[in-house]
Amino acid sequence: MTLLDIRDLKVAIGSVQALAGVDLTVARGEVVGLVGESGGGKSMIARSVVGLLPDGARATGQVLFEDRDVLTMDAAALAAHRGAGAAICFQNPRGALSPTRVIGRQLTDRLVTHQGMDASQARSAAVDLFESVGIRAAARRFGSYPHELSGGQAQRVMISLATGCAPGLLIADEPTTGLDVTLTREILLRFREAADEEGRGVLLISHDLASIARICDRLVVLNAGAIVEHGPTTAILTTPAAPYTRTLLAAVPTLPTPTPHPAESGESGEAREAGEAGQAGQAAGSADCADPADRARPVGAGVSAESGESGESVPSAGSGDEVVRVEDAHVVYGSRFGAGGHHALRGVSLTVRAGETVGVVGESGSGKSTLARLMLGMITPSRGVVTLAGQEPSRLRGRELRALRCRAQLVFQDPIGSLSPRRTVADAVAEPLRAAGVKAPERARRVAAVLERMGLDGTYAERRPHELSGGQAQRVGIARALAGEPDLIVFDEPTSALDVTVQAQILKVIGEVTAERGRGSVFISHDLATVRGFCDRVVVLYLGRIVEEGPVEEVFARPRHPYTMALLAAVPSLDGEEETGRVRLTKDPEEAAAGGGCALAPRCPFAEDACRTEEQELRTLGRARVACRRAGALPDLEGPER
């Protein structure tokens, strides 16, 4: 008997056919992955299993759970089924935890309801359960409110809540979206354990094939409410039958550098169009797309320049003029009340020259966006100097400052949010031009030109943000950045809010933009794989400090800092192999105490006593520079390059 057997499930909401005949099974002890792009109906399947479809939804077919049809259950049966039968781990765990109830109580509520415990039993069981999902100091955490948890902790709590129901079937709806790569892995392993050790059936939902591929027994690929392909994981990864599956696979950015010189074929143009149509069909090998033209750049120049330098500023790969220079910058965000404050950047130095692209990577909260704002003159460093196009923004006021700001532009992480909801696309793109005092007709011409360049035809000019898809909005964002022909463009995680397939297209556009000479670019991401594609140099930030920097190939091929190694190790790959020997950081960054010595020491598997006391400085090691006293002396853990 299969645990869950969905037969020809159709769900319609109004005129929308959300699910168009889905068949799916999950057995005990099995992890089934359900993948597909956003809006494909994945959550709808999950909801139908617990009988929680949106109002007005009409469901036909059967959702058999232990041979009883959930769709026909009465209220009492449904109440018994929910939780005990099937329990969902919700996407966005922070939002799915009740904000006004301590997490311990939320868990004991489940334990009392489904496992018949009394209050004191439940309490001790809850503490045990928290510990088992990897929450440290569980007894203390019992009384925490959800907002006091980090994202990773919240996700663990969510898992404990779902497992606390002791369900036959555990459904995880995008459990790792928005999480750090380093955490993703750990969380996913919990589900494998739930299947292997507790014998539950697990339905794992994701839009990101790569991240879940490793732990799934079987994969089901959903597109537009219908299942396009299903089968054992390896089979699907290696021999995908459906074109859609291939698209999905192709969209996954992977570390292993593919062919060094991808063809600058007609593919790029096609991919863009495909993106607009939302099908992205044959964007096969879009990993290549992420790695566009500019491999041909004279990387060697960077190498030679760097080796000669030992100054505080980052060796520059570009040969052009310096567009921005950050010297020993510190940024402290004052706290709202009196003393204290958050020290977001601690002595960062960086130079970007015209014609080069610098990648900035680091976990969430490491100070990447702060660095971006600093370079744009949006914040003033509390210590240190920022020079933008030869001028110090902190010394300028009013018109001059605004004029200087026009020289540098930012592309935002949230493409729709960075467009004013009440202004048209043309209006948004024209803004830097207006600020620069360009006359109206000229403005209109240039706006049209730059939109054209981004592949947006005239009809888009009068649209408002809500009439755009995420990908289109981001094109508008890039167009806006380009419109003023700035010296510097900073991309702050420009693709992390987008669907995988769309990501690939946008990365391609960015690749083209950064390839232009005469302008410097900074590309910020927490994902090393995407950076690798088109950056000349990469800077690794950790808690406001640069811990490693150097030419892309060098850093990726031979990471020397444990943190860099860990970041690289956490990059998901499709090969599904169980990697051993990769570096895994322990604990959450939130729990890492910022003591005297190396900030990474509390999490570092290689930390020695001296690490905890000595401040680390950047040292030149080969073509890169590293802030780790043990760098070079560490066990030679090779990067993922085979």
Binding site: L78, L376, R405, Q409, S420
Partner: protein, 289 residues
Amino acid sequence: MADLTTAGEAGPPRAAAAADRGFATTLIRTGSVILGLVVLAVLIGPLLVRWGPEEIDAAASLAPPGGAHPLGTDVNGMDILSRVLHAGRLDLGVAVASVALAVVLGTLLGIVAGYRGGLVDDVLMRILDVFQAFPAFILALAVAALLGGGVPELILVIALVNAPAYARLVRAEVRTVRELPFVEASRTSGSSGLGTLWRHVLPNSLTPVRVIAPLNCGWAMLTLAGLSFLGLGVTVPTAEWGAMISLGSADVVAGRWWTSVPPGLLLLVSVLGFSLLGEGLQERAGVTR
């Protein structure tokens, strides 16, 4: 086939959202229709009645409805129907004008306070606190005594009483909006502060104002009625609903319902019209207070 959502727990919240969009529309429609009818009545009605609003029928003090006076007369022998209709012009006018003034005043203050922040914000907010601490009738009396008691002064008073609420509303909104990415985007584009404020912050901060304003129009009418009851409203014999209710409220006790019930009903209906409209807009905008 089963409708899963009606089974199960008490509130089908998703359902609610969907169904209530319908209800919101009903509310907005009903409110608009009510207001439309009232506006129509007070615009056209006066042209059709025989008596002037302040015209005294010497022979008919407190005449019951019927005959020459379809809704009877008040203690002065003035025709209730005529007065009620004329009063509507004044009441609706005062309500809309005072709220408009309050919106302008409040929005300006709120924007400045919210966008500038810091000391300016603190000082402005404290001043608003001071204002809010004054009971409406004290303000009313002060304004009437200082500027003279007329309709413009009443508009000013009601606007002053209302403005702090708008200022707070707009300020809160501005503080949220100014942190949104598109505002930062505008600033990184090199726009001037005022430009950003005008083009991006302001248009995106006015939703709650737009939603609250109709609710407030109703409230303004009630305030006017209250002021009239305290003798701080319009001067006799100006036709105004609140003044009429107040003048006629004692008659109710004597069984002479017609002096206060018609203005009362019209006031109720108009305020309700505004409230329904406001509630509907609120529902639709999803704004919660």
